[in-house]
Assembly symmetry: D4
Homo-oligomer: 199 residues x 8
Amino acid sequence: MNDTAILLIDHQVGLQALVKDFDTVGFQNNVLALASIAKELHLPVVITASVPEGPNGPLMPEILEMFPDVAVVSRHGEVNAWDNPQFRAAVKKTGRKQLIMAGIVTDVCIAFPALSAIEEGFQVFAAVDASGTFNEVVRYASWDRMSQGGVQLMNWFSILCELTRDWRVHGQVMTDIIVKHLPEYKNTMITFNQTQSKN
Amino acid sequence: MNDTAILLIDHQVGLQALVKDFDTVGFQNNVLALASIAKELHLPVVITASVPEGPNGPLMPEILEMFPDVAVVSRHGEVNAWDNPQFRAAVKKTGRKQLIMAGIVTDVCIAFPALSAIEEGFQVFAAVDASGTFNEVVRYASWDRMSQGGVQLMNWFSILCELTRDWRVHGQVMTDIIVKHLPEYKNTMITFNQTQSKN
Amino acid sequence: MNDTAILLIDHQVGLQALVKDFDTVGFQNNVLALASIAKELHLPVVITASVPEGPNGPLMPEILEMFPDVAVVSRHGEVNAWDNPQFRAAVKKTGRKQLIMAGIVTDVCIAFPALSAIEEGFQVFAAVDASGTFNEVVRYASWDRMSQGGVQLMNWFSILCELTRDWRVHGQVMTDIIVKHLPEYKNTMITFNQTQSKN
Amino acid sequence: MNDTAILLIDHQVGLQALVKDFDTVGFQNNVLALASIAKELHLPVVITASVPEGPNGPLMPEILEMFPDVAVVSRHGEVNAWDNPQFRAAVKKTGRKQLIMAGIVTDVCIAFPALSAIEEGFQVFAAVDASGTFNEVVRYASWDRMSQGGVQLMNWFSILCELTRDWRVHGQVMTDIIVKHLPEYKNTMITFNQTQSKN
Amino acid sequence: MNDTAILLIDHQVGLQALVKDFDTVGFQNNVLALASIAKELHLPVVITASVPEGPNGPLMPEILEMFPDVAVVSRHGEVNAWDNPQFRAAVKKTGRKQLIMAGIVTDVCIAFPALSAIEEGFQVFAAVDASGTFNEVVRYASWDRMSQGGVQLMNWFSILCELTRDWRVHGQVMTDIIVKHLPEYKNTMITFNQTQSKN
Amino acid sequence: MNDTAILLIDHQVGLQALVKDFDTVGFQNNVLALASIAKELHLPVVITASVPEGPNGPLMPEILEMFPDVAVVSRHGEVNAWDNPQFRAAVKKTGRKQLIMAGIVTDVCIAFPALSAIEEGFQVFAAVDASGTFNEVVRYASWDRMSQGGVQLMNWFSILCELTRDWRVHGQVMTDIIVKHLPEYKNTMITFNQTQSKN
Amino acid sequence: MNDTAILLIDHQVGLQALVKDFDTVGFQNNVLALASIAKELHLPVVITASVPEGPNGPLMPEILEMFPDVAVVSRHGEVNAWDNPQFRAAVKKTGRKQLIMAGIVTDVCIAFPALSAIEEGFQVFAAVDASGTFNEVVRYASWDRMSQGGVQLMNWFSILCELTRDWRVHGQVMTDIIVKHLPEYKNTMITFNQTQSKN
Amino acid sequence: MNDTAILLIDHQVGLQALVKDFDTVGFQNNVLALASIAKELHLPVVITASVPEGPNGPLMPEILEMFPDVAVVSRHGEVNAWDNPQFRAAVKKTGRKQLIMAGIVTDVCIAFPALSAIEEGFQVFAAVDASGTFNEVVRYASWDRMSQGGVQLMNWFSILCELTRDWRVHGQVMTDIIVKHLPEYKNTMITFNQTQSKN
């Protein structure tokens, strides 16, 4: 956890119209769960957007509200965020060697910087359920390309668990995020707690 | 709208483990959207739960918070809510003849009272995306049985639109509910509004 | 419940190789759940098999063990069980006017006798998740034909609930069947009971 | 054909972000094929848009270009186009009693006016592959509601064939539309024609 | 069986490129199974093709070989076979009132003549697994329209069983068709027979 | 077989509400089939549960009954079972170098210890059909990550066959497990045996 | 082609009841297409069956008829055909180093000998569409395991093309197999040839 | 971009009848998008067809029109385009070492030359959404084989982005292609531009 940063790339409201491999409600939940992990565990976060003043639109407002102190790197041309010097500088400034990336669209905005970062010696994890794209064909092709290049494919829940590792240390953070983003688990907790409190 | 009531039946946290025909995050969003329609349009609401002190568990806490003044009808045996005198009385007390029903599980907790209410002369609408069940086979069989019996199958968004009918009259309510529960539409609104506000 | 009989038609081990619209483990669970409903609620049961000494094979052994006193009507030619005088006599001997039917294959062994029974004035319910066939195209076509003819499509769980109606009267039977055949619900019950027993 | 009009309802670019039950490329192709049928067969067309100056956005530009002489009915509040007097007047002015409707979203913008028009004695056909909505649950629920109300569900190709009826009379129109919108058929025609022309 | 005719409509090799709702190998198997039923049970058959000398191509050669004495009705313009006087005459000449129809594409070549025949007082059965079309949306829309109009949806196996009714009378025909077209059943028969013959 | 141990990780009743990539009936069947393999072949088994006295709930009772002599390692914080010294000690005490792992959820409770064990030189097999998780996206991402790390993906039936290798040696065990957990095969055996016994 | 042999493993009629990841008609077509490739190209073939006198049943009769001179290796216990000395001898006697394998079930009868043969230095190709198993989870897990071990995954059509390479040399064989097993291509050929022959 | 060539292989109208893993409208859109990338970025293009004067038919006319100056390499026997000396010469004449390939069918016409080119030291990218084949089983098997051999799987949009890299340099080309082939993005652009132009 001390060597990890989270990179949120192009989760812009206009670009979400391109995401068809997830239901939008579920996708936004996944994105915000990942963002919450960064926030609650105080991980360094790098956020970027591609031409947010154009049709791509601004970043999801929930992300902006969650990280008021993080300066968004607005790119004005580079498709691959890694090609943008400010972005690369922001990543390197975190001093972390393990990068968790998520964004829209998976095959471009994640696959490109993921492979670029691997080439520069970073260890890269793609948060594939907080990253979306056009359809399943593109999703699985981009997964294969990333995996072939050494990127590890993870999901927000396994990232949460990998970072926290122990309920005794991080139980409160884990519970907070689960209650907000994993209703199956929350439901079980409600029943359990209600029963407990009756005794 | 003046002749409509909304019936929320057995949206209990324990029973949600039986719902497999929807992703849980999306399902809860649909249920809360329907509940918001009732609340924002000031429709009479009847809420019931089956043995909430047992393994079925309490109602979703968000529903309870949304309607602090509605007394939940706790049933202690009747599977079909319509068999419960308090429930039936509460429905009739609304004075409404158009009933929108949603609940868990579709094939029992909705299909049974829906068909019972039709027999008593009510017009019944099943909110099928705020109602869940075991799998698609059961979902579509119960749809067929309800449709054969005269129940009309609707979804929360079409219910919202059918009740409001005109953006000039109910625009604010419609927007509020959409922003909370329909992110595809919200995203479009954000881009539009941001562009407008720049000028 | 006092006017209901259950008809199990051609659940033979050889014929199960024709059932492709359900996973076999799940399908057998559904069939046995329906059979248990009949047994636990002491409903009259009529069981038939088509040429069980041939490649269709014998009935599922679990069914035979469950109803040692029910004489299986072996048909030696009639595809539609309703064409078989012994079967028809056995059904009529129950004196019940509501028939719940399940069998293999849905489009023949259920659809044919269901429509025949409707013509003779019975009310017919097809237990569609305890009935299987070649693929989804055939399943949904046969559903449409049955529904058009007035057959009501149900599943074993809604049948259980429709027959029992009240947990206070039939709670033990309901629980027994659920524990054996509905593990989602059973799991919730285990947690609840364990928590209770600790206090 | 002489008693038919085509109603295109809310095919706006912003609303297309709500359509998730079709691939966008395929959906737009279906919409334009239906529009071409109207144009090539000189059917009266009524076009409407809901608040096109807002986030719903303008109609698909291809539709506007195809019907330069049709005045688009801009609605400024009515969800159900049938509630708008200008729309209703435009429909009635066509003098046609058979209405083919398509639009976004199926469960609202088609289902509502379709059922309204049926009530006023029109015969209504929903062009279901030129109409889109949030997901398959909503699609099939709205189909059931429309079918229950007497609406006939059709697709653009069967509409084309129902209207033209005879290749000897309308062969050129049929071929033109097929070549633009049904590439499977076009491919067969290319091979056939090339072979013919070699001889 | 004595009042039944089978109508094979436009099973042409060129049109099969339009059939995407079935795997081609499986679809051809279904078509030939239905054709075999007609042949083996000596039912009257009416066969038609739409412009077979054009890109639609000739009928499947297996069908032509199976019925050397049936004159194919070549239509040179009528989309709806029922609009063609020769076709209608051929149907009426059979003297049968129950018509089983199959063809390409379901939404046009089956739905149109099926509804036309119903209007003229025939009882119509659509063999839906021997009829194909563009995709599942079109398939299910056309099913709904046909069902609404009174057409009964069946599959080749249920048609075989409905016509033969009794293995003692038609066992050889049933077995022959099953061995050729229903390999699941054939496999069971092989094992059974081999075991029998060893004793 | 002499170098193999089976590790059952967190098959707790509360956690099963998180498993959405399998039907619950089928999933429990798979888990119990794997457990039966361990039991019938007398393989060393290590069982662990995460905070079983909390909302995760106790292990499936069938597992506890099957291995009355195995002390369950209750973890009180470690997400990755491999981080728990007792668990690691129990594994090492088996002296086996080939570990078959299954559990809930695949992406955490299997992927983490599987990769940890590989790093320590074990050969690891994930029993992927006795391991469940939230959805298919998470399932396939976790498969990719495990495969990239050298984990071999297997299913309970191939594990049974890989361990037994020869029906002449282990035929009784294989048959016993198949009869209980693989009904397709059982059905074939019933027909065969009945036919045999008649001679 | 001169260094290739084809191994057909356990395509027995009883075992086909275990194959649920393919439609049976399509699966048998794939198996026979692969067998035809061997026959038409005069490749050495090794055929084996597991206890064919038991419930697994005999091999598909079409395979036995196609290769009357190939002695089937009957195994009486070995699950992995490679463990059977006669089978291994038969393979080695072909003198070929490239082995194409297909069989039932993919995860056992193909994966095991495929990995065994790789270990002995053969180059192995799994004909995955002529190999079947329980469901898609098992299919893709076994694919991953084979791929990880160096097995190349192919399908019968790509195998045909890889072996023949040139229509000028093997056009007749290619056409013969396509006409029997690839109706999409056959249909195109019919139209083309008919058109040609008219000139 | 300066080291890249695009190879379009066998996108013939007759062969498209074999493509069942994509909707035809969407597939043709993908193919033409890829072709447009080549054209708009002035990349060298090599086009080949297999026996275009036979049943495979001519290339898609849109491709021929787009590249009037590219001589199509007609192969008269070689299945693997790489086996054809003219094709290989044309590729080598481009002087490019990065080859993007697309074609029909994926498992043969792309997989074979892709693996051949890798062996000769090229870097190969398969444009998997502009390449089609019989079904998903064949698609994913061929992906696995290509990936195992070092081919990188991409889609037309990620290829466009990888080649252009910067909107400031290639914005016009990117926009032109997006407007023609990616309607989700086009729709967002329309709304944005209309709003802008109002101010």
